[in-house]
Symmetry: D2
Subunit: 302 residues, 4 copies
Amino acid sequence: MAKNIFGDKWTFTSFGESHGAAIGGVLDGVPAGLHIDFAMIRSELSRRAGRGEVGASQRALHEPDEVEWLSGVLDSVTLGTPIAFLIRNKDARPEDYEYLRHTYRVGHADRVYEQKYGIRDWRGGGRASARETAARVVAGCLAKQELASKGVRIHADLVQVGAETDPAKFTETIAVYQREGDSIGGIIECRIQGLPVGTGEPIFDKIQAHLAYAVLSINACKGFEYGTGFRGVTQPGSAINAISGGISGGISDGTDIVFRCVFKPTPSTPKAGVKGRHDACVAVRAVPVVEAMTALSLVQFL
Amino acid sequence: MAKNIFGDKWTFTSFGESHGAAIGGVLDGVPAGLHIDFAMIRSELSRRAGRGEVGASQRALHEPDEVEWLSGVLDSVTLGTPIAFLIRNKDARPEDYEYLRHTYRVGHADRVYEQKYGIRDWRGGGRASARETAARVVAGCLAKQELASKGVRIHADLVQVGAETDPAKFTETIAVYQREGDSIGGIIECRIQGLPVGTGEPIFDKIQAHLAYAVLSINACKGFEYGTGFRGVTQPGSAINAISGGISGGISDGTDIVFRCVFKPTPSTPKAGVKGRHDACVAVRAVPVVEAMTALSLVQFL
Amino acid sequence: MAKNIFGDKWTFTSFGESHGAAIGGVLDGVPAGLHIDFAMIRSELSRRAGRGEVGASQRALHEPDEVEWLSGVLDSVTLGTPIAFLIRNKDARPEDYEYLRHTYRVGHADRVYEQKYGIRDWRGGGRASARETAARVVAGCLAKQELASKGVRIHADLVQVGAETDPAKFTETIAVYQREGDSIGGIIECRIQGLPVGTGEPIFDKIQAHLAYAVLSINACKGFEYGTGFRGVTQPGSAINAISGGISGGISDGTDIVFRCVFKPTPSTPKAGVKGRHDACVAVRAVPVVEAMTALSLVQFL
Amino acid sequence: MAKNIFGDKWTFTSFGESHGAAIGGVLDGVPAGLHIDFAMIRSELSRRAGRGEVGASQRALHEPDEVEWLSGVLDSVTLGTPIAFLIRNKDARPEDYEYLRHTYRVGHADRVYEQKYGIRDWRGGGRASARETAARVVAGCLAKQELASKGVRIHADLVQVGAETDPAKFTETIAVYQREGDSIGGIIECRIQGLPVGTGEPIFDKIQAHLAYAVLSINACKGFEYGTGFRGVTQPGSAINAISGGISGGISDGTDIVFRCVFKPTPSTPKAGVKGRHDACVAVRAVPVVEAMTALSLVQFL
């Protein structure tokens, strides 16, 4: 199985424990000559950290998330060789999690990791922590930059928080849950524009299948739908037959692709009696991760 | 990209055009010593053909779907070598589709195939036809038999047709659309029981991601959700934190896994002015295909 | 592991037992629009069967090796979909091998198969028989045709039989071993012309590494060398530094690539007390198989 | 293509330019619970650097080759998560190679890299430098340790330098070429003991094919043979039919496997007018690299 590796054209290997020395990744297959926009990467990491957002985990806010580039880049231009990078874990506080050495948190992967491997890094979730997604954001930025150079744009937005669908009210909705030491779920919508006609493979690597695989690999994601999705079940064929959702037989037809994905609330909250640093609505910080995984998925097809 | 190949442990290669000589497949990686239950395979193919169901395509009903085994099996027992099989297309009527030689059907992949490849088999959808799923059902049966021998059971059911959620009324609901020359969508729920604790990979091959990839590769599938799914968005973390949906951090926790997927109505109906042989509710015949793809997904992890 | 599958661009899956219903293969990833030259395929299969050669196995000579095309081709042109084909085993005589049901032949894989799988197809070597290479030749022909359309030519020749290096004397040398019920090895040289500069990957998929992997997968092949090869060990750097062998750092430099490979004599001969139908010099019939595997290797890089 | 990634069970990704910030790698798929012997890794890196050997490059001798472990290990025990490590390039002297910015060295990959990528890291060969093999040695050590825990031992030795086959005289032979500013090739023999019967895959992942692929990925390697190899060509089947070389039909038969590989002399020598720091006989330092790649190959099959 692919385990910690994503993609066979742009092959992204992710590594690192939440409270180990560093997290990071290697991107193999990136073409030579791509100019890397480092400012955009910093900005996306900041977005993932939830800076300026209500209810973001304090851990995320305190990590500087400084990317160190180890290889594959000379004078900001890719060489065609593997691009390795790392982000040091500076605000790691294993002592905060000392109590987890012999305990499993409800709703977390602590127990299954121990059952699967016979050993686990108990320090803050180790590899299962959402901190790993910072490496995905870095890799996704390179994929986005390549896609942008070919006219493909990806844009995701939070479209629902709990029962609330008015974006103007998301901040206050989240603040309510935060004050109560609770958490709430959200739905993200992502639009892909400019994908060339004919992108995708017709049987098993249909675009929608690969996107779902990419997005459902993000922690807390519980569902994926595109085009008419689950709501389309009530409409007859005569009403919806011209709505392709941008994909026909697994292959892009040149119109926009729109998909939606849902994120459950984090289970480890003060209200549930779990100490540590957590998010009132993980969907907020998942938005750039959804974009990153979408980019990493699409770049495999070009 | 994987194109027509699924899985890296049990590697299934699917081949065949809808109105060519045959469809079929090769399964590589099946362990030696598995006793094949051929009667079960015939029964599943019959279920996929929609025999006994209202509104099934006449093409499916007229195809005998007889499987010819070419290799990998001696006296009903697998040899550990590749298992190749084929199903002849006996009721192929390319002449029915002669009019498609220079036409594209709305809502079908005809046009994007031509755009992607510069050539296409216009005979009844060629490779994009749902007939290809018969090969998946055969391969899925072997996977199911292997899983059953390890105590893993997979069972899918239609749980919604249009707005109707009472199974007792599905047949009449479909009959209404059929009489009108129209079609309707449906939702399938699938339950996995007995999966050993620790199955799944923690980052990119999370069970839910791989299942979504498998299920969304089925024609007409528009969405996938598991556990609390999209409906869970309105519930706070304090209410749902003990509901794992059988998966924690991408790894099975030993309890049942339940997922749901939605199938849109077929767009090529008499009402839409499309000739040929079609289904009033493709979700009916998708049930055994969902089980087959679920089995092919899970068998990669064992 | 790849088992019965070769390549990730043109993915070739080989199937079939020597004395089962059929051998064959599926080629996935062949671009649409390639015109297949069926006469060339028949000619290459005939070459592999050893027609017109001294000392070829009688089995090979009696098999018509008629290829049945199942999918992926319409009016001799590829569709971009998987190309499946089979060759029936018409001269299969399992009864000739009845004595092998409980016996293992010296120098053959009979025993290790049984040890590995706990079961084996004892009928003439089953999957380990060189008959499997007929499927490789068919697949290799398509790869050769694609390569030829891009100006790449592959030509292999027998350059040594036993100690004999004069091609004019190969036939009589082999005849001597055949009369004695014995067998002898041979060396094949293969030249690749017209490969574009820059073909190959610099670290693990160096052209020479991939070619060696392809060629050493052929039964009875015991070694591979290219450029100065083993003989170059005695020459100082100052003498050979301009001889690249067509490859630099794993990447083609535009000049011809020449490699050599050695085939051991078949161990199951009348002289060794083994009944059945065998070759006095398998290297003769290996020549088109070496070309086929070379083509299947190179086509992955284009 | 695999590019910079080796293996599908223990997946090793190699990264880093010779004169960039660091070289290193990520190993995904290493089981949890392996105790890492760091002293053995230091010792193997020292062997690769040629410490104590005549004619080794001064660059190699001056690099401390200190491994920094980034992830996947807690208290010297593997966690089952990706193991990332790096080695800083401390003795990098890009200025030594300034003259290469617009020049290509004869017999090196400088030119084909530029032709392939349109850009290259001109600093000392960049990615094509043999320095990259240090990362392979680290990864190979972990594979060796896993194999040793299962009773598999790998041992390689230099068996020929130029025409010299007496190991006692290798040092003085190399010294002669070094004094002349020249270089010479060598042959390495590698013995694998204790490999379980049944290891290997019968068609395309035959052990010998995978080993050749692994070994021919090492810079300067020009050939691979096993068992009777090229020399066996002169022996009749009746004489050698009981010599399996430890492999039958691609699968280990439980006896020792012995293979040999040849390394050409480095082309960039003072005698050839090339400045920089070079080896008089690269085969000497290739010995631990051959062992490492052998271990990385075999560990894919267990």
